[in-house]
C-alpha cells in the first residue's frame, strides 16, 4: 500500500515536471497598421512553424503558441512571451531568451512584404499573399506557398517546396535555392513565366553539357532529414507549353567542377537551361542540388 502511494507521488511529480517542460502559452496580438504599403512583416525564429494568411483587412493578427524550453526558468508574464518590435516600418517577431516557438499564425494585409527566417526545424505555410516573400530556412523545412504572386526569394537546405502562383505573377526577378528536396511549381493557365535552372528537362532536345551532373552524392548527411521520399537525382519535368534554350552564366562553382583558369583570372561559367513557358515572362532562377523540379499549369 505504501509503495503504491510512493508510486502515485512519483508519477504526480514526473507528470508535473513534464507538464512544466511542455507548457504552451497562447497569445494574440491585434495591431492596426498604417496604409503605407511599404510596411513589412518579419519573423526571425530558431524553430517552429509559421502560417501566414493574406486578408483584405488593414490589421495584423498574430497568434503565437510558445512553450518554455526545459531547464530554463523563464515564465511568460502578463505582457506575453514574445517581443513584437515595430521599427522603421518593420514589424518583427523575435522570441525572448529561453522561449521556443511552437507555431505562429499570422493574418496580414495581403500586399504586405513578408520576410521569414528559421534557423532550425519548422515549416512555412503562406497563402493569399500578393507582396514580396523572402524565406530563409536552414535545416529541415517544408515550404508551401499558395495563391502568391511574388516576387519570391527562397533559400532552403532540406525539404520540399510547393508554390502555387496566382494570376498576375510579379515581373520582378525571383530566385530559389534549395539543396535537397523536390520543387513543385504550379502556374495559372496561360501565364508567361521564364525559369532558368542548371537542371535540364527530361525531354530536353538540347544537348547536355558534359560537365553537368558531375557533382552528385547520395549519402545522408543530416540525421534530422527523415523524409521517406529521398529526392530523386536532378530531374526536371515541365507539364506545359515551353521553349528551351541554353545560356552561359556565372555559376556558384558547384556543378561546374572544373572552372577555367585564364592567366590569372578564373571563370566559373556554366550552361543554364532556360525555359520560356507560354512565351516567357516573370524571371525565376532555380538552383537545386539534388531533387526533382516539376512545373505544371493549373487547370
Amino acid at each position: 500500500m505504501k509503495s503504491i502511494k510512493l508510486y502515485a507521488i512519483a508519477l504526480f511529480v514526473i507528470t508535473s515536471l513534464t507538464s512544466i517542460g511542455q507548457d504552451t502559452y497562447f497569445q494574440q496580438f491585434n495591431l492596426p497598421i498604417s496604409n503605407d504599403e511599404k510596411e513589412s512583416f518579419k519573423v526571425d525564429i530558431q524553430s517552429g512553424d509559421v502560417d501566414i494568411i493574406g486578408v483584405s483587412e488593414n490589421i495584423i493578427k498574430i497568434q503565437a503558441e510558445v512553450f518554455n524550453t526545459p531547464g530554463k526558468n523563464y515564465i511568460c508574464g502578463p505582457d506575453g512571451c514574445m517581443n513584437v518590435e515595430r521599427d522603421d516600418l518593420k514589424l518583427s517577431i523575435k522570441p525572448r531568451e529561453g522561449e521556443k516557438i511552437k507555431k505562429i499564425i499570422v493574418s496580414l494585409p495581403f500586399n504586405t512584404p513578408v520576410s521569414i527566417r528559421i534557423s532550425g526545424v519548422g515549416n512555412v505555410n503562406i497563402s493569399n499573399m500578393h507582396g514580396g516573400i523572402q524565406i530563409n530556412t536552414m535545416r529541415l523545412n517544408n515550404i508551401s506557398l499558395k495563391q502568391v504572386t511574388g516576387p519570391l526569394s527562397l533559400t532552403g537546405t532540406y525539404g520540399d517546396l510547393d508554390i502555387e502562383f496566382d494570376k498576375g505573377i510579379s515581373k520582378q526577378p525571383m530566385a530559389i535555392f534549395l539543396m535537397k528536396g523536390n520543387i513543385n511549381i504550379k502556374i495559372p493557365k496561360g501565364e508567361g513565366v521564364t525559369f532558368a535552372t542548371s537542371c535540364p528537362d527530361e525531354k530536353s532536345t538540347l544537348k547536355q553539357h558534359p560537365l553537368k551532373r558531375v557533382y552528385s552524392y547520395k549519402h545522408k548527411t543530416d540525421t534530422s532529414y527523415n523524409s521517406n521520399k529521398e529526392p530523386e537525382q536532378n530531374k526536371m519535368n515541365i507539364l506545359a507549353d515551353y521553349k528551351e534554350r541554353i545560356e552561359t552564366r556565372e555559376s556558384f562553382g558547384f556543378t561546374n567542377k572544373n572552372p577555367r583558369i585564364k592567366g590569372k583570372s578564373i571563370s566559373f561559367k556554366e550552361d543554364v537551361w532556360v525555359y520560356d513557358i507560354n512565351g516567357g515572362g516573370a524571371n525565376v532562377e532555380i538552383m537545386l542540388w539534388q531533387g526533382l523540379i516539376q512545373i505544371k499549369e493549373s487547370n
Binding site: 511599404k38 513589412s40 512584404p113 520576410s115 527566417r117 534557423s119 514580396g132 523572402q134 530563409n136 536552414m138 535545416r139 516576387p151 526569394s153 527562397l154 533559400t155 537546405t157 510579379s170 520582378q172 526577378p173 525571383m174 530566385a175 530559389i176 535555392f177 539543396m179 557533382y215 552528385s216 552524392y217 549519402h219 548527411t221 543530416d222 552564366r249 556565372e250 555559376s251 556558384f252 562553382g253 558547384f254 567542377k257 572552372p259 583558369i261 590569372k264 583570372s265 578564373i266 571563370s267 566559373f268 561559367k269 538552383m287
Partner: protein, 225 residues
C-alpha cells in the same frame, strides 16, 4: 521588139523637153574669194572637230575623276563618320556602364530584396566593375539579409576579380555567414580557386568552430569538397 524601140524614142523626147533648158544654163565659175572662204571654213570645221574630240576625252577623264572623287569623298566621309560612330558608341557604352554602376549602387541599398537581386543582375552585365561597385558587392556579400542576393554578389565578384583578391574577400566574408548554404558556396569557391591561401582559409574556418554543423558534415562526406 518594135514596141520597145518606140518606148525609147518616147523617153528621149521627154528627156529633151525636161533637161535641155538645164543643159543650156550657164554654169558659174567659183570666185577666188569663195575658195578662200571655203578653205577657211573647212579648216575651222576640222579644228573644231579635233577640239570636240579632245573635249570628249577631257569630259570622259573628268567624269572618271568625278566618280573617283565622289567615291573617295564618300569613303573619306564614311570613314570619318564610322570613326565618329565608333567613338560615339564607345561614349554611349561608357555612359551606359556609368548609369548601370549608379543603378547598382542605388538598388543595392533598397529595402526590397527583388531590387537588390536586380542590382546583382545589372552588375553582371557591366564589363568592368570599379572599386566602388566591388566595395558595395562585398558589403552585400557580408551583410545582406537575403542569401540569394549574397550568392549573386559572390557570382559577380568571382567573374571579375583575380583569384588572389577573391581568396581574401571570400575568406573575410566567410566569417560573417550564418547560413550553411552561403558557407558552403564560399568554401566551394575557395576550393575551386585552389591556391595555398584558399586552402588555409578553409582549414582555419573549419577548425575555428564557426562552420555550421551541416557544413562540417558536408565537408567530411562530399565528393566535391
Amino acid at each position: 521588139m518594135n514596141k520597145s524601140e518606140g518606148n525609147k524614142k518616147k523617153w528621149n523626147i521627154e528627156d529633151d523637153l525636161l533637161f535641155k533648158p538645164l543643159d543650156e544654163m550657164e554654169i558659174p565659175e567659183p570666185s577666188p574669194s569663195l575658195k578662200v572662204s571655203y578653205l577657211s571654213k573647212l579648216g575651222h570645221i576640222s579644228t573644231s572637230e579635233s577640239l570636240n574630240s579632245t573635249n570628249r576625252h577631257i569630259h570622259a577623264y573628268i567624269k572618271v575623276a568625278a566618280i573617283a572623287a565622289v567615291f573617295i569623298f564618300g569613303w573619306f566621309i564614311g570613314s570619318i563618320s564610322h570613326r565618329n560612330e565608333r567613338v560615339l558608341l564607345q561614349d554611349v557604352q561608357k555612359q551606359l556602364d556609368n548609369n548601370n554602376k549608379l543603378l547598382v549602387l542605388t538598388l543595392l541599398q533598397q529595402p526590397s530584396f527583388s531590387d537588390r537581386l536586380q542590382a546583382t543582375n545589372i552588375s553582371s552585365s557591366i564589363p568592368i566593375i570599379d572599386n566602388q561597385v566591388v566595395t558595395a558587392l562585398v558589403k552585400a556579400l557580408e551583410s545582406d539579409p537575403d542569401p540569394n542576393v549574397k550568392m549573386r554578389c559572390a557570382e559577380v565578384l568571382a567573374a571579375h576579380l583575380r583569384p588572389d583578391s577573391l581568396s581574401t574577400i571570400f575568406g573575410n566574408a566567410l566569417d560573417y555567414q550564418e547560413e550553411p548554404i552561403i558557407q558552403l558556396i564560399l568554401i566551394n569557391y575557395l576550393k575551386s580557386i585552389g591556391n595555398a591561401k584558399s586552402k588555409r582559409i578553409i582549414n582555419n574556418f573549419i577548425n575555428s568552430g564557426k562552420a555550421d554543423e551541416f557544413v562540417r558534415s558536408e565537408m567530411q562526406h562530399s565528393i566535391n569538397l
